[in-house]
Amino acid sequence: MSDLDLIFSLVSETLPAAGIDCLLIGGFAVNHYGYSRSTLDIDLMIATEQRDAVRKIMQREGFTNVALHDNVMFVHRPGTQWRVDILQVDRETMAQLLSRAEHGMVGGKKIRFPALKDLLAMKFFALGQNPARRMGKDLPDIAHLAIHHGLDPEKDLHPLALRFASEAVYELVANQIGNLRT
């Protein structure tokens, strides 16, 4: 079993069997919605109170190098380049994300992804936290997904930007979409 297959098994079988809900976010979720780009990590999302249980399972599965931070846990298997970033959200937010989640098949496993609008909300949130450092990834993600899904920047993206980031971030996104379309 490859390292990626192990992660897909964890997300689709091992964690749910332990009562842990998990979403695959990041590059894989972006690809699920039609925009293929590179990534250097695998991003998962869990509810904060399940962090310790997830850590124990990941350690049991050979992810022995664990770094804990306020809102994210990094794990990787010794001797590999693989890093899994496990982002944490509060229980209510996780419940909302799960209620709208979509399923997709990866490596023969049924995986849950956040709904497109929720994924975009996360991207706006990340961009709003640090536009300078997140522009290389989250900005093109939003713009490409918006174009791919025929979203209207003003109607579909502006409210998300104001809710999770700022007017300035919306301007960045609208300009990026304009540049890609011309």
Partner: protein
């Protein structure tokens, strides 16, 4: 005969993006990418992720700024 139309801007956009990969193709692509990834780039990416001080939330007071 009516030919399908494909706008010039759509064509230009398509040229600027990677081909769309199926999920399994994408997994293969990322597996290969990570097998040869530059550790410096990986560390840089990790540093960016560590800067997330506030978790994403649907709570009304939550905002990225």
């Amino acid at each position: 005969m009516i030919f399908p139309t494909y706008s010039e801007s759509a064509a230009r956009y398509a040229l600027r993006t990677l081909p769309r990969l199926s999920m399994d193709e994408y997994a293969e692509f990322i597996e290969e990418l990570l097998a040869h990834a530059d550790p410096v780039k990986i560390a840089r990416q990790k540093a960016i992720e560590k800067q997330i001080k506030t978790p994403f939330s649907f709570k009304p007071e939550s905002k990225g700024t």
